[in-house]
Every structure is written in C-alpha cells, then in structure tokens.
C-alpha cells in the first residue's frame, strides 16, 4: 500500500548539512503493522513526517526518493494535492496527547474538522459520525464529552480522541508516532489493544514509530530498525526477535530490561523505617493527599523498588524521605533518628548519609557549574576533602562513574543525557552516602543508555554496599534491580512483597493489572 524507496532527507544547520534520513526503504501492507524502531536522533520520525510534507523546508530538504501510495508518489505531489491526502487517506497520531490537541477548541469541533473539510459533510452528519466514533474508541458518554475541552480529559482519553480524529475519514493508512510513550503502562496496554482492534475491524495499514522494542513486540508484523538515519535491519517480528543479525539490533534487544536480580541475603535491621507517613498539599482549596498513611521499612543493603503510575505519589514519597518536601505527619527513622523532627545542624550531617538521583538529567545539574564545581561542592561542604586534595578525589569519582577525566572542566550542556546522568550519580555518591533514592533515574534515557546506567548503578550499589529506594513506573526495570517491591496507588500502599512473590503470586487486583500491562511480556 505504501512503498518508500531511497528516501534521503537532510537539514541545513549552522554546522552544515546533516543527513537525518539516509537512503531509507520501507513499506506498509494493508491490514498489517510496520514498526520503525530507533533511538532519539535515529531519523525515524523525520522519515515519516517527510512523506507527508510536515517538515519545514528550509531547513529541511528531501534530496531523493519515492513514496508510492495508492499509485501516487507522495514526494512528487504538490502541496495542495498532498494536503488532500493528509487527514483523509493518511492520518496521524502523535506522542503527547497533552499538547497535540488544540486547547482552545472543543474536542467535538476538532474531531469534525477533517470530515467537514475533506468531505464537505454537513454539521449534523459530522456530529453523528463523531459521536459514533467516540463510542467506538471507548470514550464514555460522547453526547456530553463532545463539548469538552481537551484539558477536561485524562491523558489516555485524549489519546483516544486523537485516534478517533485520525479515523474519522476512514483513512487507509495510520501513522502513529510513539502513540503510547507519554502514557501510564495500564493505559498504554489499552491504547495498543485499541489500535489492534481497529486494524482488525477496518483493515487499515498501520505504521508505528517507537523507541521501545517491547511495545512493538506485541503488535508489529514487520520491523525496521534505524540507527543514525540508516536502516540497519528489517524483517518480520519473529526474525528480528529470535535471530537478529545486525549488532545494533542485538544491542537493542539486550538492553530491554529483563531477568530478575538474584535474591541476596537481607540484614534484618532496617536502615530507614517509615511510619504512618502523610504528605498533603493544598491546591485550589482542596487537600491533595499525595502520600497517605504509608508505612514500610528499607533494610540495610537492599534495593527496594517503589512502583506506581503517574499521580500515585511515588516521587513525593521519595522526596519526603529526604525532607525535601515537608511531611504532614508520621515518622521517618533513618538509623534511629527521626528525619522530620531533626534540627537544622543535625539534618546537615544526616544529609551526607542520604542522597537522591533525579529523573531529568537536563534539570538536575546547575547549568552554570562545571563538572568539577558540581562534584567538589558536596566534598568541600561536608569537609570530606581539603581545597588541595579535592581535585584528585573529583577525578576519582569521574573514573568510578565512567566519565573521561578530560571532561572535568566542561559544563552540563556539553554532555549527552547519559553522561549527565553519570555526573548526577557521581554527585550523589561523592559524600559516600549509605542510602540513595533514585527517582525514575533511567526513565528519560534511550534504552541502550538506560541499560548502561542501570548496570553502573547496580555495580556501584554492590561496591559501596548501598541501600537504595528505586522509584519507577516500569516494573520490568524494577524487577531487574530490586530485592523487594512496594506498589503505590493513589498515595497508599497496595501491596509489598519480595520480587519473586510479587511477580508470581500478586495478591491485589491493581498489582495484577500492572503486571498484565507490562509490554512485550513474550520477551521476558
């Protein structure tokens, strides 16, 4: 149905011409799903946007290639003709449903727009179809919600609206760019199922773009692997997953978090003991119970996984433990001392012993401080080194976290995401803490980098005998790292158990839902 040959797209920037897409071929067959897999910067999105004339030219330029779709070459069509195909024969769904719907327009009007524009449908006709379609994609009470604005929907519902909007003209091809990346795992599973159902029912071709092999494993028929603008491997699902040929594909597959940490002996005395902790906020005159009556222990030397979806309160809980967010009530005993009740001076010496690693390596480093300044600050503050000895220690830390020493006087913006996360880890470990909170520490990273950072954290945790609270939305990652797991939902603990028990004999429905929603279960 769609056949793309020799597609090459380049961008002219300050540093000269960059080939974002280099001689790429792929095709989509009606009724089947083709997936393009690659990490950020691999050119996977650009190649699809380029087909539809959605990249600004200049700076972008389509150098060569053809894209045959229903006997037309998309790349030869003029703007006007291409626009008639967009939204009618080829529709798109984007990554972030929060920003992809017009916040100033009712969803109904946005849904009807393609129908009214491309088919000249009457208002009442368009509305009837919109209502039908909203019901089909699983939006409740369409007669009421058709008049809602996007912000009145949850993320999952907005993505359903996006899908309905894409389907309203009964397109032959649906291009979905990271359609579930911004969603919670349980919602992700629902949306993926919806896409499969729609395909079965309407016999359309789907081209899905993703960085996540696990997501694709469940739905793709054909898989294209891209790296730095080139296709490195292609094949059907079974071949790619069972007998990958190209080293990069193998690396990607190896990076998918799987397996489980070997159970290690756990000392019976807790390092951190949380008792009836509550952290509440006031927001628009309402009390938000972000953390609500939570009690658990973290034993010395263990990695405790804390899993929850967005809004579960997991980040607030992590910050409360370090007194970065004031707790409303309850007790946090760190080695017997109550963190909440401590005086400022005592708190400072306690802070040396517990540290945090954040999710976003772009936000967690001061952009105006060099690596040296960042790493030396905690050492000098806690008088662990003198001014004369600190430089040597900073370089040692860089060795430990795998950063080349000659980067020591560079600034954060000169590093990649993975390197920055290494700096952040170095800063957290500089004071030789006993306890580390890792808050979604690998979630913002590409999958191969994620695997490297996870390995680094595992190694360092063992070497230093660290106790860790590892917070994540991703059960597969947690399983790889954690000895025990706490499941958090709406600020309350749903279940806690050791990793094997939780995965094999979950007690609660919510835990079961989470487990079932893990993408690519066939790979585990």
């Amino acid at each position: 149905m769609l056949k793309v040959n020799n597609l090459t797209i380049s961008f002219t920037g300050r540093e000269g011409i960059i080939r974002a897409v280099d001689n790429v071929d792929f095709s989509v067959v009606a009724g089947s799903t083709t997936a393009i897999i690659g990490e950020s910067g691999s050119g996977k999105s650009v190649s699809c946007y380029g087909l539809l004339g959605l990249i600004p030219q200049p700076p972008g330029q389509i150098e060569s290639g053809s894209a045959l779709f229903l006997a037309n070459d998309l790349l030869q069509l003029d703007k006007h003709a291409l626009r008639k195909i967009r939204g009618r024969d080829i529709a798109m769904v984007f990554q972030d449903p929060m920003t992809c719907l017009n916040p100033y327009m009712r969803v109904g009007a946005q849904l009807m727009e393609p129908l009214r524009y491309h088919r000249g449908a009457s208002r009442s006709e368009a509305k009837r179809q919109a209502l039908d379609l909203m019901a089909e994609v699983g939006i409740r009470e369409p007669a009421i919600t058709i008049n809602y604005y996007p912000h009145q929907f949850s993320g999952g519902m907005r993505q359903r609206v996006m899908i309905a909007m894409a389907l309203i003209n009964e397109p032959r091809l649906l291009i979905a760019d990271e359609p579930t990346t911004a969603l919670d795992v349980t919602v992700q599973a629902q949306i993926l199922k919806l896409l499969c159902d729609i395909q079965a029912k309407r016999d359309i071709g789907i081209l899905i773009i993703s960085h996540d092999l696990a997501v694709v494993a469940d739905i793709a028929d054909q898989i294209i692997v891209m790296q730095e603008g080139k296709v490195v491997e292609r094949g059907d699902r079974a071949t790619i997953f069972r007998r990958p040929q190209h080293p990069y594909t193998r690396k990607l597959l190896a990076s998918i978090p799987k397996g489980q940490k070997a159970p290690s002996p756990i000392s019976p005395n807790p390092l951190v003991s949380v008792k009836k902790l509550c952290t509440w906020f006031k927001q628009h005159n309402e009390t938000v119970k972000a953390v609500d009556d939570v009690s658990f222990d973290v034993y010395r030397g263990e990695v405790l996984g804390l899993v929850g979806e967005s809004g579960s309160g997991k980040s607030t809980l992590g910050r409360s433990l370090l007194n970065l967010v004031p707790a409303t009530s309850g007790q946090i005993l760190f080695d017997g001392q109550d963190v909440i009740a401590l005086a400022a001076g005592d708190l400072k010496s306690l802070r040396r012993r517990m540290q945090i690693i954040f999710q976003d390596p772009f936000a967690s480093l001061n952009p105006r401080m060099t690596v040296y300044d960042t790493l030396a600050e905690p050492l000098l503050l806690h008088k662990l080194e003198t001014r004369s000895s600190v430089a040597e220690r900073v370089l040692q830390i860089m060795d430990e976290v795998g950063l080349a020493r000659h980067f020591v006087r560079k600034y954060p913006h000169e590093f990649s995401g993975g390197q920055r996360q290494r700096i952040a880890i170095g800063r957290a470990l500089a004071t030789r803490p006993e306890f580390i909170v890792a808050d979604e520490a690998v979630s913002a990273l590409d999958v191969t980098i994620q695997a490297q950072i996870l390995e680094l954290m595992q190694t360092l945790a063992q070497e230093h005998g660290l106790t860790m609270l590892f917070i994540s939305h991703d059960l597969a990652v947690i399983r790889q790292l954690a000895d025990r797991i706490v499941v958090l939902h709406n600020g309350k603990i749903v279940e806690q158990a050791d990793t094997t028990t939780l995965f094999e004999h979950p007690k609660r429905d919510y835990t079961r839902q989470l487990l079932e929603a893990i993408p690519g279960k066939s790979l585990l």
Partner: protein, 311 residues
C-alpha cells in the same frame, strides 16, 4: 464567571481607596494654598471661600466628607473655575479623550496585529524584517517627537491634514489618533509576532496540518487564538498608557480633552480638579484592567472552566 468578576471588583476597592487617600493628603500637604497665588483677598471672602471648599474644617473631617461626596459621584467644585464643578469639567473633556483613545486603540490593534501576524508567517525573511523594523522605529520615536514630526510633514510641508483641534475640520482626528496609537501598534506587532511564532511551533498546530487543513485555517482557526493571548493581556496596560499618553498628544494637537485639562490643572494648582480627575482616571484604569483580565480568562478554556464551576 460572575463570582470572578465580583471578587476582582472587591479587590479593586482597596486599590481605589489607596489612590483616593494618597492623592487627597498629598494635595493637602502641597506647598501653597489654592488661593495663595491670587491677590490679597478680603478675610470675609476668604472665609466664605474656605467654607465653600470645606477648608475650615479639620483635615480628617474634610477627608470623610470628600469620601461621602465621592460615593454619591460628586467630585466637588473646581478651585480655578468658580461656579463649575469638577464633574462638569470631566464631562466636557472625557468624551473627547475617550474617542481619541478608542481611535488610537483601533489603529494600534489593526496595524499591530496585522503586521505581527504577517511577520510571523515567514520569520527571518523580508516579510518579517520590514514590518518589524517599522515596529522598532515606532518604539523608538515616542509620541512627543512623532506628533511634531507628523505636523511638520502632513500639516505644514504637504498641507494635507489639519494640525490642531478636534472635530472642527474634516480629518483633524487622524494625526492625533495615529500619534497616540503608533507606539502601541509597534508593541502589539512585536507581541503578536512573538506569540504567533511560539504557538506555530506547538504540537497541535502540527496536528492541524496532519489533518490536512489548509494553511489559512491552520493560522486563523488554530493559531490566532493562542497567539494573540499576550496581546489581550497587554490591553489593560495599553489602555492606561493611552490615557496618560493623551496628556502629551492633546497638548500637541490642542485637543480639548481630559488630558489637556489635567495638565492645565496641574499648572494652575487646581487641586480639586487634579484630585477629581485622578480618582476618575484611576477608576477607569482599574475597570479596564478588570475587563482585560476577564477577557483573558474568557479566552482560555482552562481558566474559564475554573471560573465557571469551582470556588
């Protein structure tokens, strides 16, 4: 929505009270009494005058009495124009100023939004540079310079347009309105360009293009609403600026508006007039800020939702 307007109105009361109080006492401590400039006045006459203006009473009582009058909408008699009340003077001057400000605002909005949107469609091309250079010129040539220059060019050298008055001759409203509106047209052009550039990179604009919407519809239906938010937010301050800007423009073009009265009152030390006009203008500005806020909230569905249902 009504609750939102009500709460904003309540918030406006302390602001106005501060204005009234500070103005009232500032003027009372000003050096020189209202009649000191005039020649020796017979003591009886002076006493009668002071009684008329309540100057014989203690300051606090004067203040309370003034507030009482204000509540009834009475701004008191003028010091300089015996027999005329401040209300009359304002009633005479304000319609002219309002008309001038309205024309200036129309000039500013039509030219500003048009130029800004046009410039934003093709950034860093001639279509962007030309209007934006014009806007920069507009910002750097203030009305006090632009007015005389326009008079010189269109009034004297070319002799196309009248150079003073208001409503006396055809076309005499053009130059004052353009002079007053020019700077705001320039600001609005810059604001709408920046706003549109920001909005046109949003994901939902890409969605609209992916839906195959024609480019005009992408810009007008999807882009303009969000892109002009900064312009709407600017309307409140712009209105305040237009009112005070009318001081200069009315002086240059000899327009018999409130602004010119105000400046004259300032020179004549016509204290009741200054007090009255300050209170009046403050009320106007506070009201317009409120209108601008409400408009701003109304244009944003997220805020509108909050106004409508909760709190």
């Amino acid at each position: 929505m009504w609750r939102f307007i009500g709460s904003r109105l309540l918030q406006a009361i302390p602001v106005l009270l501060v204005v009234i109080t500070v103005t009232f006492f500032l003027i009372r401590i000003a050096p020189g009494g209202p009649f000191s400039s005039e020649k020796a006045v017979i003591p009886e006459v002076k006493a009668a005058l002071e009684a008329q203006y309540r100057l014989d009473r203690p300051l606090l009582k004067q203040y309370i009495a003034y507030l009482g009058d204000l509540v009834q909408g009475d701004l008191g008699p003028s010091f300089k124009y015996p027999g005329r009340s401040v209300n009359e003077l304002i009633a005479a001057g304000f319609p002219v100023t309002a008309e001038l400000a309205l024309y200036a605002l129309l000039v500013a909005l039509s030219i500003g939004v048009g130029a800004g949107v046009v410039a934003s469609l093709r950034p860093n091309t001639a279509q962007d540079y030309i209007p934006m250079s014009a806007a920069m010129v507009g910002i750097c040539i203030p009305s006090l310079l632009l007015g005389p220059l326009l008079i010189l060019i269109f009034g004297i050298y070319l002799d196309w347009l009248p150079v003073s008055g208001w409503g006396d001759m055809p076309g005499d409203k053009i130059l004052p309105a353009v002079t007053l509106g020019a700077v705001y047209a320039a600001y609005i052009a810059r604001l709408s360009r920046a706003g549109m550039l920001e909005i046109m990179t949003q994901d939902y604009i890409r969605t609209a293009r992916a839906k195959g919407m024609p480019e005009w519809r992408v810009v007008v239906v999807h882009g303009l609403r969000g892109g002009l938010t900064p312009v709407v937010a600017f309307l409140g301050p712009a209105f305040a600026g237009l009112l005070s800007g009318s001081f200069v423009v009315e002086t240059i073009f000899q327009v018999p508006g409130l602004g010119r009265f105000y400046v004259q009152a300032a020179f004549n030390r016509d204290y009741t007039m200054i007090l009255g006009a300050t209170v009046f203008l403050s009320c106007l500005i506070v009201t317009f800020n409120l209108v601008s806020d409400v408009l701003n909230a109304w244009m944003n569905p997220r805020l509108r939702g909050r106004l409508g249902s909760s709190t």
